[in-house]
């Protein structure tokens, strides 16, 4: 009985303590946790509201996208229908017009268009004169391939040159170097028509600034026309399979004329037989070249050629002008080359009988890369030299020795420099020694 009473007493005491202490603890949790929980719930509610808004906007955007896709599908279908109709119509037209030739390998015009050429800036100084930038030249060649067999090509020369005006100053010139249509008739014959670079020797066909290793042209090239208006047949016949070939060119051009209609010696105009309507005289000139190229190994070759042109030059058609050119080029290794031409002309005149302006030039170059010095800047240098001479048959003789260099900044950008030792005598004697620097770029 006592034990039960004791237990009941303890339980009663526990309950009293429990009821007394419990309300205090519950009051602490409710104040802190409830407020933080309330904040959390509030924030979550706001977040949910934002998400619902975003979702609604996405749904609207999606609906708009679906509408646009449907519209594009409709447009695509309409375009396809139009294209199909156009193709059918084009095929019908092609069937009707099949009598006309169709350009093979039809491509866009610009795809067949290419521009090459060269550009130069030149600085020169003659003895006893101030040095100056004497020349800026931009010489593009436009190529348009109309088909596999037809090419139209035209070369222009836009120059700004000092000393080309009486009394000093510079002048800008825009010249047409050539404009020709090439028709590849077959593997052995190409028909060329228009204003053509003439194959008298090889110099004029390989004389672009970045090809010619010396800035100036040989004097004796002045005895020959650079181009002529007419028709030409040319081609190459391979000999064996070693790269050897025989080349030929045959042409007829308007030819030379007289500046003053008569046959006075100094009046020869090499490309001038073009009158106000017809030509000044009725006799076109004819010419050609035959060449032989023999490579016995890559970079080891010999080329020989003989060429000439003949015709009359005065208006009366009584005085003839003829030219003959021998040309040669030799390569021994990738580093050494030598080439030259001998030019001989024969001009009948009213006042001096038959005169023979003539000259020759020989040029050599050696690339220092052949020394295997493994010095990059030195290996980019090519040493060049040339000797040229001319006799104009009017009393003036000129000899010139040239030494110089070519520095290959890249394969198409060249810095050239040379010094020219000039010895000229006669009524049209040229100025004294000079040096020339030139920057050339091949397009």
């Amino acid at each position: 009985m006592k034990i039960h009473s004791l237990i009941l007493g303890i339980l009663a005491a526990g309950c009293v303590i429990g009821f007394t202490l419990t309300p205090r603890a519950g009051a602490v949790v409710n104040d802190e946790d409830f407020s933080s929980l309330k904040d959390l719930v509030t924030k979550q509610g706001r977040r949910i509201d934002q998400l619902e808004q975003t979702h609604e906007q996405d749904q609207k955007t999606h609906e708009q996208d679906q509408q646009q896709i449907q519209q594009l599908k409709q447009q695509l279908g309409e375009t396809h229908a139009v294209a199909t109709n156009a193709t059918q119509k084009a095929e019908e037209v092609a069937r009707v017009q099949s009598a006309y030739p169709v350009v093979s390998g039809a491509m866009s015009a610009m795809h067949n268009f290419t521009m090459v050429g060269d550009a130069e800036v030149q600085f020169g100084k003659a003895a006893g004169q101030h040095g100056s930038f004497v020349l800026a030249d931009f010489a593009p060649i436009f190529l348009f391939r109309a088909s596999d067999n037809v090419l139209f090509e035209a070369g222009f020369d836009v120059t700004l040159q000092n000393g080309s005006q009486p009394g000093g100053g510079s002048a800008t010139h825009v010249d047409l170097s050539f404009a020709q249509l090439d028709y590849l008739f077959n593997d052995y014959v190409t028909v060329v028509a228009g204003d053509m670079v003439l194959p008298l020797g090889t110099y004029s066909e390989r004389a672009a600034g970045w090809l010619n290793k010396i800035p100036d042209d040989p004097f004796s090239r002045d005895f020959l026309p650079g181009s002529g208006v007419g028709v030409q047949l040319r081609g190459a016949i391979p000999v064996g399979q070693s790269g050897q070939m025989v080349t030929y060119s045959v042409y007829g051009v308007n030819g030379p004329s007289s500046i003053d209609t008569n046959g006075i010696a100094g009046n020869l105009d090499l490309g001038g037989n073009v009158g106000d309507t017809g030509n000044w005289h009725a006799n076109p000139s004819g010419g050609g070249r035959i060449g032989w190229f023999y490579p016995w190994q890559a970079h080891y070759d010999l080329e020989l050629g003989v060429s000439g042109q003949t015709g009359v030059w005065d208006n009366a058609g009584r005085r003839s002008w003829s030219a003959g050119v021998l040309d040669a080029a030799l390569h021994i290794s990738p580093y050494f080359e030598a080439k030259g031409e001998y030019i001989y002309t024969m001009q009948e005149t009213d006042d001096m009988g038959t005169i023979h302006p003539q000259g020759w030039w020989v040029q050599a170059g050696y690339k220092l890369a052949g020394l295997n010095l493994e010095i990059p800047r030195i290996s980019n240098v090519e040493l060049v030299s040339r000797y040229d001479t001319m006799h104009d048959a009017l009393g003036t003789k000129t000899d010139r020795a040239t030494v110089g260099f070519v520095y290959y900044i890249s394969n198409t950008l060249l810095f050239e420099g040379d010094y020219e030792f000039l010895h000229s005598r006669g009524p049209n004697a040229l100025p004294s020694n000079a040096f020339v620097l030139q920057l050339s770029y091949g397009l």
């Binding site: 000999v239 016995w296 190994q297 970079h299 003959g324 038959t354």
Partner: protein
């Protein structure tokens, strides 16, 4: 009279020049043709190994002993007038136009020009 004499002398010199040149040419062409014939005879007598791919891949010391590749023809014909132009400098279409131009300007045989074009187009730019 003086003019006529001078003209005759010039004509005579010209004829002499043409005759000498023709003889030189005939001699050179005969020599060259003979050299090629010998080269082709030698090739036919060779074993098949001479025509192997390895032989094709390396430039021959004597160009006349085998059919040249586009790369070899490029080295023979193009570098003699200008510095090397890289295949990547032009597109295949541009190379076709350029090679048509060079075939005319440099008097290249048609078959050789085609091989050079193929070689350049293989590594051409875009």
């Amino acid at each position: 009279m003086k003019r006529l004499t001078s003209f005759k002398l010039g004509l005579r010199e010209g004829v002499r020049l043409v005759a000498v040149t023709a003889v030189i040419y005939a001699a050179f062409i005969a020599f060259a043709t003979g050299a090629d014939t010998k080269a082709e005879d030698a090739k036919s007598a060779d074993t098949k190994a001479a025509d192997s791919k390895a032989a094709d891949a390396k430039p021959a010391k004597k160009a006349g002993k085998k059919k040249l590749t586009g790369a070899e023809l490029y080295a023979i014909h193009c570098n003699r007038c200008h510095a090397e132009r890289y295949a990547t400098e032009f597109t295949p279409g541009q190379w076709k136009t350029l090679m048509t131009h060079m075939r005319v300007r440099a008097n290249l045989p048609a078959a050789q020009a085609k091989l050079i074009l193929k070689y350049l187009q293989e590594d051409s730019g875009n």
